[in-house]
Symmetry: C2
Subunit: 423 residues, 2 copies
């Protein structure tokens, strides 16, 4: 083993050794104490404002030197109002109802034993993310609210900002009398650390990767720990034969343009052939006005002469930009088939006045969130009333779709008897 490897190995060992007792402590803390710890962390971050802004300036300067895009640099920025709202969000998480200890189910099992299914923290959660440094605080606060310990590994572009934030958060925990190892930040930026960490299924209970496809693939490939992916969204709307076309127009524009760089924005639009002629020319104009580039199939291009011809790749691409793939479909069945074939099962919607058609679409489209007459942009923990979210799960098990503090819990069965033995 090289010296570099030894350093990584030792760091992983220390993270894992500290995490389990910290998880046990925080799992058993009463609600009031977890709330107080979050408030103390918010106060500590406010007090460390100048240190955090200095650290962020270092990251921004490095990003300039490295020639990162303006969008990337903007995502790194953490001064002024952004720091204010980060602190406000943190205080808000403290006000969320306790997700731990909730009775999820009661049943009388064999021989009259009373069983109660109650929510408990998952334990140790690793979160691996890119660029935006505020994720450090989001993830730490949501994990703590749900009684979990976390190990955070942010992107190298935000290394100074993340350190300053985590240091302040841990200082707050200490002040509140809580083991600061409830929140640990990975200190070594070497990517070789990730497989070492994720092989430790003895010490970690869950890993959540948040970032681009490459990051998620890398995590899935090397993890022995259960992974909840926050993977790409190839979302769509389908304009049914009986759609209110004014509503359709407004929802397509909203779902594509209101914030194109996010996973719940649409990338594909399917238009029923019976309304293609009446809908597409008006849509074409509206999209042009909104600076949306259109990739269309042969039938759609007849009514959208400015559109580029779509290739097969277009239907499965997450543009994350003002680009939209438009196709004409034969009918509801065809729309469901294409949504299922090309989409990523994240968020999809139908626009129609026909309730029967809508219900078939809702039943048959197998996505985390399926919409009738609403924008796909609502797939979001905040919009769902979860208070805050770790992200949007694209897994099919445990947590699917918006993931809040409830989804950071698991459960256990408490069984109360009177001496019953198995016969």
């Amino acid at each position: 083993m090289s010296t570099a490897e030894k350093i990584l190995q030792r760091h992983v060992e220390s993270l894992c050794t500290n995490a389990r007792p910290a998880a046990r402590t925080v799992a058993l803390l009463p609600d009031a104490k977890r709330r107080a710890a979050l408030k103390a962390a918010a106060t500590a971050i406010a007090a460390a404002r100048s240190a955090i802004e200095k650290a962020n300036a270092l990251d921004l300067a490095q990003a300039e030197r490295d020639g990162l895009s303006a969008a990337m640099i903007d995502r790194l920025r953490l001064g002024g109002k952004r720091l204010d709202s980060l602190i406000a969000d943190l205080r808000q998480v403290a006000t969320l109802p306790d997700p731990v200890g909730q009775v999820l189910e009661k049943r009388t099992i064999a021989q009259g034993i009373k069983a109660e299914k109650i929510s408990v923290p998952i334990g140790v959660v690793a979160i691996i993310f890119e660029s935006r440094p505020n994720v450090t605080i989001d993830a730490a606060s949501l994990c703590l609210r749900a009684g979990n310990a976390c190990i955070l590994r942010g992107g190298k572009e935000a290394v100074h900002s993340n350190r300053a934030l985590a240091t302040a958060f841990r200082a707050g925990l200490k002040k509140a009398g809580v083991n600061p190892d409830v929140v640990q930040l990975v200190q070594e930026q070497d990517r070789a650390l990730i497989p070492l960490l994720l092989s430790r299924d003895d010490a970690l209970d869950l890993v959540i990767p948040r970032g681009g496809e490459a990051l998620i693939k890398a995590v899935v490939a090397c993890s022995k720990v259960p992974v909840i992916k926050h993977d790409k969204g190839v979302c769509s709307l389908y304009i049914h034969a009986k759609a209110d076309l004014r509503m359709a127009l407004s929802l397509v524009i909203n779902a594509k343009c209101q914030r194109p760089g996010v996973c719940n924005a649409i990338e594909n639009l399917w238009v029923d052939q019976t309304v293609a002629k009446s809908f597409l020319p008006a849509l074409s104009k509206a999209l042009q006005k909104a600076n949306v580039e259109v990739r269309a199939d042969g039938r759609a291009r007849l009514m959208m002469p400015n559109a580029i011809r779509a290739t097969v790749e277009d239907w499965t691409t997450e543009y994350l930009s003002l680009t939209l793939a438009v196709g004409v479909v034969d009918n509801l069945d065809d729309a469901i088939l294409k949504t299922e074939t090309f989409g990523s099962h994240h968020s999809d919607g139908i626009i129609t006045r026909d309730v029967k058609a809508a219900e078939r679409y809702l039943a048959e489209v197998d996505s985390a969130c399926v919409y009738h007459n609403a924008s796909t942009r609502f797939t979001d923990g905040g919009q769902f009333g979860f208070g805050a979210e770790v992200g949007i799960s694209t897994n099919r098990v445990h947590a699917r779709g918006p993931m809040g503090i409830r989804e950071l819990c698991t459960y256990k069965w408490l069984c109360r008897g009177k001496g019953q033995a198995r016969e």
Copy 2:
């Protein structure tokens, strides 16, 4: 790539290609049709009885030639009454309430959109198991009841039996007009197939390994697909200072001896120092009578002179046999600490008349099932009233503890709006 590798690769490709459309079909089948398919499978297995028994005889003969233990050979056996009860169980699964399409939660989200969280099948479930051929039918029937397609890979000792069972099951499906690929059996026994199959996270949604530690480790090490482990049970009872000692004696004997080879039998017993003197001599006699070998710590051996001295390994060993590790603990805290440190977080119990102590134990012991005054042997889908079980999950996410048809479902959000766009 060698010819052997090409054959495996082609087989995996075919399993994966068939599974997704089959999963889609079965997910959309109405309840009555899924019930009918299960009944048809039961009828087909009854009709194929002689073929199944012939196949089983081949496996038994091979097992004799290979010198397998009597216990192993017994687990392979599938004739007569065992086949009757397998068919009866299959018919019983058809009578379980439909776990699919249940409304798990309703909430009004942003701007008055009505969101409904409903249960849906997970999709394609791979189950990798050892020896007992009846798992083929258990797994197939539970997956189908919950609207999932499955890919089954049984142990090589049961290869003929598994093939005969799967062939009959698929014939039943065909007769009921259901795509037989809802249940696929891996045909190649080469272990090299497993990593190839489990790298296909595009085609599989979940893998459940059932078997010994080596199997589970191998699956976790190579899987890109989410894994729900059915891992070992190092379960315990704690005899508290205020225990009813007659109840304690009967529950220790039940939890250890009623069926020692299963995961919910106890391996460790913790006895409070205040009752050690009054409890251990009587226990010693009772265990001797039941042919249980005792491994005890220093304090326990003072009252159990026949016991072997326990080593550190004893406290973490799943004996699966008539062996019990016995230790004396200082108090409730010590008992909780030792249960948490050495146990596998499967099933643990406290025996006491002191409700306060019991509630602390229930709250602080972090196991899938925690008992007060009852045997740990109740951790079982049948005992919990789930009708049937795929097994006992030792994962911390999604499904924890007994896993029935409900735990073979995930959910999706249906969102019904009136044209709402995100602001």
